[in-house]
């Protein structure tokens, strides 16, 4: 570890590798998952879903289902059309964005296979499922557009009434923004141009806990338990969508089994369960199957990236032009249109560009809608720039690490205003890279690579680099406002001092595996000087934690954690007058440390007054200073002034069996700079998990549709998640440059591994087989694709030839029809 430990007290909790408070219940099977809920008289729901990607619904015959055993209610779009409202999209990225009304239950037309057309409520889950199969739906099939590029050509329309598949076009241009020059000038003046087109395949978040929702309509309020990342946003959206007073809705996210952005949504099924509970007056539960989840929970990524990198012969990069096509799927979900935009500010990454232009076209297709998936926009950006830097290095015959160093922002140049208009507050790319090289044995591996190349070894070795940065801590509300997002980016916290001296922390962040209960306890223990075990963290229930903006975008610690710090500081401030009163001292003479107030100058042996004792005095309220309310509790809402910018250097060694195309990871080293660390154990865990998700994009995962729009990777048999047997143990380390945007100096770590690792892996594979003329392999880099790249003459061709007329038809590195997607 190269972390510089804070020199102070051994008693500090922040920085300790505390074992998690959450674990006891999780390792003994006492967890409260939504699907565990059983309420008296509860009904079970089953959805009827469209098998067609695009069809008119001509008739829904529910008679057989209604008569099936145990069935209480069957509803279709006809029944619900006046009650269900429209599912929300909170991010209209442009004024003229085209948006299709998104009903929870399709009324007269379905726009993707898996869309709900009817719902059955029955006394048991089995009866509901049996009856759902008796709902007889007649469809008139309509032409469906499945492929993103074809959709962009507007030949077949996903929604004929929109007249186009283009939802919106969003542009950032450094010349217009005043943050840099005109990219066309850089391209014109370039000595070297690297032009590539990369595919970000469609992925499925695949949280392990299938989604589940329970709604209890009995009592004064509707209570919804649901496996969501966003109970607060959901509550508001339920109110806005259904016209129910917000005060009549309580949303509880109990233990939630993973999200990765996949549960950052207001889902049709949540609305439907609510409506069914309201209609029947009974508690209702819906729990999805895995196939249902893969089909209908939102997907992620799915972009084509057309990239032009301008550089000088000496290796200086000068400009970057990015043209994206982003697949929205059939509808715009909660933040669907904004996901590619989150990448817009990161394509320039850690490098100094003179000019930059980003243009994204958001396109509708007849597929499951896309939305946030771990990293959301930033993995795509990081992949593009890190692949391009390797391509430039290859073109110039330079070492790819050295070329990066030539172009990156030096540690003495922070704070640094980027060409994309961001202000990077801190970082040290040199330090992280130096440490990573050392741990990786970079030079030795390069030597081995040379030996294998020379001997014509059947198994070639490749080294992949990714020097990434990202932006965390979504987000300064002003920035979100400027990007037309429908909400702010603040977070709320409360600290409640209980009479017994125990502390309750209420946070608006809603954890689903991140360990907030542990980390927040560490923060508060330090702030208030109370024992770690005396802090109880409450979250995920809008009645307990009424204000919050939930958990996504690596925001919890840097925004929510800072709110906790601020609330704790307020508690101290509130306690001061009472402490002064009891100690018969002047407020200005008080000092607070390690949980006690002492009087400055009263000597080291003074007893002082503990916070717990003050809490009891406040509870009794027998003798408070005049004007003091009998409460030490405090609230704080924090709105960040800037993002935070974690970075790191990831190095990956891949072995490629040139006979079969099989790839094997040999070693993976990452050195991340995420600022100060609250709990290194949790941080390492976040990194490991992120790495495997990013590696999985590079090697294994892809949501594949056939020509008719049927998801053919619709179960875990075909949507190939890696197992322990497919992965390796990683080497992780950290360097620290504290963030300046919060008191903790923390930067956020939830998405780092996932953002950084994908290009590291693909760069390594391409590096291994580049001497065979390979310049790119479409993700996921299946053995077949690797083999075809090697034996099909690769995707070679001189860069300058392909560079001249921009993106000439049939030029290399564009659509790779032989290897794109699976073919059936």
């Amino acid at each position: 570890m190269t972390v510089t430990e804070e020199p102070t007290a051994a008693v500090r909790e922040v920085g300790k590798d505390r074992r998690r408070k959450e674990d006891q219940r999780l390792i003994t099977g006492r967890t409260r998952w939504t699907d565990n809920m059983q309420l008296t008289g509860m009904l079970h729901l089953a959805m009827v879903r469209s098998p067609y990607a695009h069809a008119r619904i001509t008739n829904v015959d529910m008679s057989a289902a209604q008569q099936a055993p145990g069935v209480i209610s069957v509803l279709c779009g006809r029944d619900l059309k006046d009650h269900q409202g429209e599912l929300p999209c909170a991010w209209p990225i442009t004024d003229d964005q085209k948006c299709m009304a998104h009903p929870a239950v399709a009324v007269d037309r379905v726009a993707f296979a898996g869309e709900v057309v009817a719902v059955v409520a029955a006394r048991t889950a089995a009866q509901a499922r049996d009856a759902a199969e008796l709902v007889d739906v007649d469809y008139e099939e309509l032409p469906a557009v499945v492929d993103l590029k074809k959709a962009a050509a507007d030949e077949v329309l996903a929604h004929p009434e929109l007249g186009t598949n283009v939802s919106a076009t969003w542009v950032f241009d450094s010349a217009e923004a005043g943050s840099g020059g005109d990219v066309e000038d850089s391209i014109r003046d370039a000595e070297v141009l690297i032009e590539r087109e990369y595919r970000q395949q469609r992925l499925i978040p695949s949280f392990m806990e299938p989604r589940s929702t329970v709604v209890d309509p009995t009592g004064e309020q509707f209570v919804m338990w649901t496996s969501t990342q966003v109970p607060h946003i959901l509550r508001l959206m339920l109110a806005l969508t259904l016209g129910v007073p917000e005060s009549k809705v309580r949303v509880i996210a109990p233990d939630v089994g993973g999200g990765f952005g996949g549960k950052l949504q207001v889902t049709p099924e949540e609305i439907i369960t609510f409506l069914m509970a309201r209609q029947t007056g009974k508690p209702c539960k819906w729990t999805e199957t895995r196939s249902e989840s893969l089909l209908s929970a939102h997907h992620g990524r799915d972009q084509w990236q057309k990239l032009t990198l301008a550089a000088r012969r000496d290796g200086t990069v000068t400009g970057l032009k990015v043209e994206l096509l982003a697949d929205m799927g059939a509808y715009l979900g909660l933040v669907t249109p904004g996901v590619p935009i989150l990448g817009a500010f990161m394509f320039n990454s850690i490098y100094k560009f003179e000019s930059y232009r980003f243009e994204c076209r958001n396109i509708f297709t007849n597929k499951t809608w896309t939305d946030a998936y771990r990293g959301a926009g930033r993995p795509e950006a990081t992949f593009a720039i890190e692949r391009l830097m390797d391509e430039l290095a290859a073109e110039l015959g330079r070492d790819p690490l050295e070329l990066r160093e030539q172009n990156w922002i030096r540690h003495d140049e922070f704070p640094f205003s980027t060409v994309a208009g961001m202000e990077y507050d801190s970082g040290n790319y040199e330090a992280a890279t130096e440490r990573a090289k050392e741990l990786f044995g970079y030079d030795e591996l390069r030597a081995e690579q040379a030996r294998r190349r020379e001997s014509g070894d059947r198994v070639q070795l490749g080294l992949g680099i990714s020097t990434f940065t990202e932006m965390c801590g979504l987000a300064p509300s002003r920035v979100l406002g400027a990007l037309s997002y429908g909400a702010g980016g603040w977070e709320h916290a409360s600290v409640r001092m209980l009479p017994s001296g125990k502390v309750e922390v209420i946070t608006g962040s809603s954890a689903h595996g991140q360990g907030h209960e542990t980390a927040w306890s560490q923060i508060v223990a330090d702030q208030l000087g109370v024992p770690f075990d005396d802090v109880e963290v409450l979250h995920g229930d809008t009645q307990i934690s009424p204000r919050g903006l939930d958990t996504y975008g690596s925001r919890s610690l840097v925004v929510g954690g800072q709110a906790v710090v601020m609330a704790a500081k307020k508690v101290i401030e509130k306690a001061k007058p009472l402490a002064a009163h009891v100690l018969e001292a002047n407020v200005d003479d008080l000092e607070f440390s390690d949980g006690r107030f002492t009087v400055r100058g009263a000597g080291a042996d003074q007893e002082g007054l503990g916070l717990a004792g003050l809490a009891l005095r406040v509870f009794a309220a027998h003798d408070l200073p005049d004007g003091m309310e009998p409460s030490l509790d405090a609230d704080a809402t924090f709105d960040p002034v800037n993002f935070s910018f974690p970075h790191g250097t990831h190095l990956c060694a891949m072995e490629v069996d040139t006979e079969t195309g099989e790839t094997t990871m040999r070693s993976y080293v990452c050195v991340d700079d995420i600022g100060n660390v609250v709990n290194p154990l949790i941080v390492d865990g976040q990194v490991h998990g992120g790495l495997v998700q990013g590696i999985a994009q590079a090697l294994w995962e892809e949501a594949v549709y056939d020509d008719q729009g049927t998801l053919v990777s619709g179960s875990f048999v075909d949507y190939t998640l890696p197992t322990s047997a497919d992965t390796i143990s990683f080497v992780t380390d950290r360097t620290v440059s504290p963030a300046t945007s919060n008191d903790l100096g923390a930067k956020g770590v939830g998405e780092a591994g996932c953002i950084a690792s994908t290009p590291a892996v693909v760069n390594a594979i391409v590096d291994a087989v580049r001497p065979m003329g390979v310049q790119d392999i479409t993700m996921p880099c299946t053995p077949e694709r690797v083999w075809r790249a090697i034996h099909g003459g690769g995707r070679g061709g001189a860069t300058e030839e392909s560079a001249m007329p921009h993106f000439e038809e049939d030029a290399p590195n564009q659509d790779n029809p032989g290897t794109e997607g699976g073919q059936l």
Binding site: M1, T28, T732
Partner: protein
């Protein structure tokens, strides 16, 4: 309906069940053993792993009627009161879980693994945990925990 008698976590239960009832649903809904969860419908994920007569099985892939006359152990039957098993301890100590949804299945499978081979190496652990999917941990700390419980140390990567 078929009458079955099953011993689960040391207690014998006798119930009428529909033949189509999966063992996992019987455990969860009839017996309230909600520690065992369902993660998929193709028996790939292993989240529902329990022991049937001492060997790990996927309880979504067994009918409750097939458990008639047999003995089932779930995650809730592992710890002896407040005393956790060494494997449970190791999972906590190594931070081998995040959201925790796969954890009961992981622990049940790892328990069986260590009974079969008390001194596995990393490759053996990785190979024999292949029937359990995790989306949070990247497996790194799960493998570490199993090795730690076995008294061994990881041979591959490490925290530098």
């Amino acid at each position: 309906m078929t009458r079955i008698s099953v011993r689960v976590d040391g207690v014998t239960y006798s119930d009428e069940v529909e033949p189509r009832t999966l063992l996992v649903h019987y455990l969860r809904e009839s017996l309230g053993k909600t520690g065992t969860v369902v993660g998929c419908d193709t028996s790939n994920c292993g989240a529902c792993t329990v022991h049937l007569d001492g060997r790990s099985v996927k309880s979504c892939n067994v009918l409750a009627v097939q458990a008639d006359g047999h003995e089932v152990t779930t995650i809730e039957g592992l710890a002896d009161g407040e005393t956790l098993t060494p494997l449970q301890e190791a999972f906590r100590d190594c931070h081998a879980l995040q959201c925790g949804y796969c954890t009961p299945g992981m622990i049940m499978q790892a328990t069986d693994l260590l009974r079969e081979n008390p001194s596995p190496d990393e490759a053996y652990v990785r190979q024999h945990m292949e029937g359990n999917l995790c989306r949070c941990t990247g497996y790194h700390n799960i493998v570490k925990a199993v090795l730690q419980a076995a008294g061994a140390t990881a041979t591959g990567g490490e925290q530098a």
